[in-house]
């Protein structure tokens, strides 16, 4: 094995280890907001595993959809729901003392990276050539040929899950078992919003 292989192995164990620890954190951490942050780390870790397997499209999707979209959405939902019960999201000055320098340092590192990078301008108007990542092409073709049925099925499952989620989540003012919940607001009528 070459040094590159050893590095691959090492990278795998580091990334996989972080992912597993973070995933365990989702389950065992007592505060839900911390669990959500752990989930974010675990999702990014999985993106790292995709990267190690050279599945670049999956890496991008994982980062954009799961880490960037879903985890942040869950975070928002928790912040909105737990405004009163879960203490404050912003702590006292203790967090500020660590947080402010950390933010400034990260900002400078990113800014330095942007400024000092040698940007490669692509020849031919700046579009990526199709061969640059054949991963995308192969996955696209497979999705619409070999896995066409699965691809279409996912949309039906999504639609159904959407309908189901709305039914479960929406406020139900009906009296389907004859019992009225105490403190129900009388000003709203349940019938007109069919």
């Amino acid at each position: 094995m070459t040094w590159a292989d050893w590095f691959d192995q090492l990278a795998f164990f580091v990334v996989a280890g972080i992912t597993i620890v973070a995933a365990a954190g989702v389950v065992f951490v007592p505060r839900i907001i911390h669990a959500c942050l752990c989930l974010l780390v675990a999702l990014i870790g999985i993106a790292g595993l995709y990267g190690l397997m050279a599945a670049h499209l999956l890496l991008a999707i994982q980062l954009l959809v799961y880490a960037g979209g879903i985890a942040v959405l869950i975070l928002f939902a928790i912040m909105l729901l737990h405004r009163r019960s879960d203490g404050g999201i912003l702590g006292g000055t203790r967090n500020l003392i660590i947080g402010l320098p950390a933010t400034v340092i990260v900002w400078f590192v990113v800014a330095a990276a942007v400024i000092f990078s040698k940007w490669h301008y692509l020849p031919g108007g700046g579009t990526v050539s199709p061969q640059a990542d054949s991963n995308v092409r192969i996955i696209g073709e497979l999705l619409l040929s070999r896995h066409l049925l699965a691809f279409e099925l996912v949309s039906v499952v999504m639609l159904m899950a959407l309908v189901g989620a709305i039914i479960i989540a929406r406020e139900d003012r009906s009296t389907d078992s004859g019992q009225q919940v105490a403190g129900q607001q009388t000003g709203e009528s349940g019938g007109n919003a069919q």
Partner: protein, 505 residues
Amino acid sequence: MPYSNLSVFAPELSLCGLAILVLVADLIVPRAWRRLPAGLAAVGLVVPLYFVARLWQKAPQSEFMGAYAIDGLSGAFKILLLVTGFLVILLSFDYLRKLQRGYGEYFALLLFSLTGMMLLTGAADLIVIYLAFEMISLSCYVLTGYMKRDPRSNEAALKYFLYGAAASGVMLYGISLLYGLGGSTRIIDIAARFMASGPAAAVAVQPAFLQSALVQAGVPELYVMRLAGLMMPLAVVLVTVGLGFKIAMVPFHAWAPDAYEGAPTPITAFLSVAPKVAGFALILRLLLVWYPELMGHWPALLASLATITMFGGNLWAIRQTNIKRMLAYSSIAHAGYLLIGVVVAATNSMGLHGIIVYLVAYLFMNLGAFAIVLLVARNMDGEEISDFSGLYHTAPALAAVMIIFLLSLTGIPPTAGFLGKLFIFGAAIGSGEWAWLAVVGIINSAISLYYYMNVARVMYFGKPGEQVLTVCPAGVVVVAVVCLLGTLGLGLFPGLIIKLIQQCV
């Protein structure tokens, strides 16, 4: 690129279209006409049924580049599913009368669930299998918790969801291992890969990706082979857990009694029949494609699971006082009888026919029993066995019909249940190797006689209550009559259905 021939996919397409149509119709029609979409759901099932029947007689073929199979076996299961769906929709009309919102969505979800089940009967690709599986599960969770004001319904849905999510995860793990070992998501390709490596390599297989990855990582080849030999049974066991959950097999049944008790009664009836039909369809397809290369030990594993499923279901059923809970445990026991058929089907087509005959019988007798439970619960406002007390005196016809369903569930001639058990146990005895399973099945039938006849005893000798039956919703009565005709017709004139099944499957 080859284009798929969508005409053979017409049943699933039309059913899915019907579900969307019901969903949209519910939004458009005024509130006073809200039964219209529901009626549409029931009547519209004729369309997919017509397409299935038309395709049934044709030669087997596969579509979507081998991801979906259309053959006599899946055709038979699809017809069973559509009939179940139709009867459950009829049962639901009256039960949902007090529901203020989500009337149309209920039927749309039911149809989506049916679509998923139909897809599962023909799925020949691991990803499609998983998606169909999720489609069934997600809709069933919501339907179980549909009575949001009823705490029992909430609890049932939550328990069903938690167990179901865990089972899905376990099954997905098994699927990912199968994909890693087989190098393809098509079940037929996986089988071909194992067949190519010869029958001697049934245990020590030639894994595709995993092996090369491990060898590259410097693991000695001998250990890689051993590891792969261990992983294949592990993958099969993990998939079995997922399937066992769906058909409520002991020891993966823990969700069933609570979910069955808390769910709206028509959904309980649906859950007790439809997922079993779909689950057994998938089990049979995997068995027919993968036996014996991948699943050499599967019959032995399933035989032991069948034994504990039968004993577990029947022994727990004895202690129940709630009729829905009792029927839940009895349906677990019936999954056990059906598993005998699967064990035999590995080597003998008798088992295959036995399963279908049994499922036809089970469909009628179980839905019939639930129809009677619905009628009694509607009038007595309770679902305990004690609510059946003295039913013979207040409603003799109803009590007599219930007795017929109970006798059929026990397996006493001349009912459909007898025919089903005759076929399954007959196949087991005919196979020689599994004859002992038939003995276990017969012992269990005797145990089940005790709790089924306990209901009969309460109905005939119990003290009659004050109430008399006043409300008889038309839909429920129709289901009871259809199931009665089915149960007796199958028992008295078995020739017709047997000929049809032997011709087409």
